[in-house]
Amino acid sequence: MRRMYLLFGLLIACYASMAQYAGYAPITDLPKFKVEFSTATQKIVSIKSDFVQEKNLSMLSEKIVSKGKFWFKRESRVRMEYSHPFTYLMILNKDKVFIKDGQKENKVSTKSNKMFQQINRIMIDCMQGTALNNRDFSTRIFENKNAGLVELTPLTKELKELLKSIVIIVDKKDFSVISIDMLEVSGDNTLLKFSNKEMNGTISDALFTIK
């Protein structure tokens, strides 16, 4: 009888984990995925793409959609240019952040600003493929035929106050990021979707210069 309960419990646990992400199943060969992920992402030197960002306010049934251009260049450099429905520029360059908001320009060190430190780390980890090694998160990985789904759950108190989890979907062809979904504790989430990706093209260093 105890075996029956155990089996039943296991079945429920499996079903729960499978049902968590529609269209994805828990990964069957985790070591293989990690090796492939690490090998493939090491080859990513640069990314240029469009992005669409959807901020979903669950309790208000509101969605704030913004669009723009995205650039990544190894090591640790990201440029995000929001163009619609507002203009906003953010450059992450190692531990420095540059913000241009209208006519206002602002330089921030991630060492002194925890929120930008986390944004910087999450973004760079996702692009460079180091997300699986980040000890600030526990990791669960799911997959389907075409994509891998990496769920990162914060372990530190600071991150737990900001985020419930981060869900990264990567293309199995080149392990480049398709989307990053940041789920807040409140139930709201921000989904970043990347499209028209140009991998490993030439991108000028000047795009990431913080003066």
């Binding site: 960002q53 901020k55 306010l57 309790m59 208000l60 509101e62 704030i64 959609v65 913004s66 995000m80 929001y82 429905p85 507002f86 906003y88 953010m90 913000i99 908001d101 209208g102 206002k104 602002n106 929120m115 944004i119 106050e161 900001l162 940041m182 807040e184 504790v185 409140s186 709201d188 921000t190």
Partner: protein
């Protein structure tokens, strides 16, 4: 009983005389007016999204401010940065109740929440139905005086009473903050600026068409 009446009389006199006692507002003359004249300036925030800049003590912060009026007559104000991280989520009820749904640790301080609450209450104009304590005039401007738990809200129009010049939040003795709401489109101001008189704190809102 006599002592209670004396206290009540003193208190009532103070409340009535307080706007007149303030050095800023002491030259104002009493005039006649109707609260319904203010209704046309009350923003009809069904749903409005604003690009927001906050300048406080030399620091600059930007983001998006969503103001949404819900079917239960409450109004929610959610401020997040451009990347989507929520700074705060407040609820304002018609009866004056206020609720914090969420706020980041760095802002979760009583004076910060209180300042933001009272600033937004000034522009939401939820309390005008309570009626003005008095109507005043000074330098060709009309002042609609709305008493608050602490201090007053003044809604200031031109002499025609068809243009809202500014709103002021005042303590018993001085102006604390002022708000300017401009370019109303379908009942919603396109530009809002809240600036404080007692310390360097300015909130600038510019409506975003989605």
């Amino acid at each position: 009983m006599v002592q209670f009446r004396m206290h009540y009389l003193l208190l009532s006199s103070c409340i009535i005389l307080l706007p007149g006692c303030s050095p800023v507002y002491k030259k104002m003359q009493e005039t006649n007016g109707n609260i319904s004249e203010l209704q046309k300036f009350k923003p009809a925030f069904a749903t409005a999204l604003y690009k927001t800049s906050v300048d406080v003590a030399g620091n600059h912060l930007s983001g998006l401010l969503l103001i949404k009026h819900l079917p239960d007559s409450t109004t929610r104000i959610v401020f997040s940065n451009e990347m989507g991280f929520t700074f705060f989520d407040f609820e304002f009820s018609p009866g004056g109740d206020f609720k914090v749904y969420s706020i980041i640790k760095q802002m979760n301080k009583k004076p910060v929440i209180s300042t933001l609450r009272h600033d937004f209450e000034l522009i939401l104009m939820k309390n005008i139905e309570k009626g003005p304590l008095s109507m005043r005039t000074q330098n060709g401007l009309n002042y609609y005086v709305i008493p608050q738990a602490k201090g007053y809200h003044y809604y200031i129009t031109d002499s025609s009473r068809n243009n809202l010049i500014r709103a002021e939040r005042a303590s018993k003795t001085k102006t604390v903050a002022e708000a300017v709401m401009q370019n109303y489109i379908n009942g919603i101001p396109d530009t809002i600026r809240i600036s404080h008189h007692t310390f360097n704190f300015v909130i600038g809102l510019k409506r975003i068409e989605r």
